[in-house]
Assembly symmetry: C2
Amino acid sequence: MARTLYELCGKDPARLFSPYCWRSRMALAHKGLSFETHHWRFTETDKIAFAKSEKVPVLVDGENVVADSWAIAQYLDAAYPDAPSLLHGRPESYHFITSWNDAIVLGGLVRLIVSDIPKILNDEAKPYFIASRTARFGMPLEEVTAGREGRLPAFRQSLQPLQRTLAAQAFLGGGQPDYADYIVFGSFMWARGVCPLPMLEPGDAVYDWMERMLDLYDGMGRRTPAA
Amino acid sequence: MARTLYELCGKDPARLFSPYCWRSRMALAHKGLSFETHHWRFTETDKIAFAKSEKVPVLVDGENVVADSWAIAQYLDAAYPDAPSLLHGRPESYHFITSWNDAIVLGGLVRLIVSDIPKILNDEAKPYFIASRTARFGMPLEEVTAGREGRLPAFRQSLQPLQRTLAAQAFLGGGQPDYADYIVFGSFMWARGVCPLPMLEPGDAVYDWMERMLDLYDGMGRRTPAA
């Protein structure tokens, strides 16, 4: 059965950098499901109109079309109940880590990396990205990230709940990763793909966890180009 | 079978204010288990020496003695598997919310309320509490909480991941509360018992959740004296 994940990429198709697409990419690997990537770039909305979505990820699994990373995670557990579980039958218990990740990790990282993102985009995507994000922040993207080296310690400090957890267990899911890990990992893969700043420091429990995550599934994360 | 929970109280035995004891109190109610409270006060270490613990909560359940709120939660799920589950067989998935609560909620609240705590303590406990907490903070407790009204907005802002989650579902556990709810609820019951400041504001999703939590189990929380 043909299985395709529509994933955001940069000018270089190997540069997969969407935090949400990484959630789905890892979820598919967790389930042991092979897939092909359809490389998608900002503004190519006509290519995913069939999914009634304007954003990726979009999963086409045989006759099933699923848009949105959260819907994809729930779909995979329902469609492949015999494969390792992503959400352990309790999707509601993953809302808090999602909210925390989106507010603190994505919200913190965007102010460190957003001005780097245009550099990796194809020429058609650049003006769209710059205009939409400049409008969102109400200032030029270089102003959003100004002084970012000095803000790195505060960002790392905001990860304290993650550090405490990962000092006590290998993964957010416990001894094995689950969808909670993929949610947070996606955020750091976004940063890794576009920005050379070291978001994490060696010796930190989150750094060690990230190394373990990069190694999963034959180094799927590690093999993806970093900035 | 006799079941007793050793719980921290103030000079007034009805003033139950330990965040950790509240986790166990709610966990017992969640399980539908009746219990008696043995009122325990700071410095009464001889009274819980039998449990090889210097802190409460301590649960005595027939012949079983369990110290520490986290151990109690796991014990209750193991000993009463037919009662509603607290941890849904996945205790490892509750570590992150615990870490977040301890760092952000308890860590934020203590700097708003610690100078109020001696006011509700019995005379024997006061000097111990003041000395130990003054040493921990390296300053008088009134200095720790100085300017606290001005810091309330920042504290409320730090609850954003909780707000996002509770705007989408009634409880952290989903449609029904689970141990994640009791962990965070215990923190707010601690503040409620000792400090008159309004930590939450009407109209906020966390405020509404707290109201629901106070109503649980015949208003067990609401019937407990507030500062």
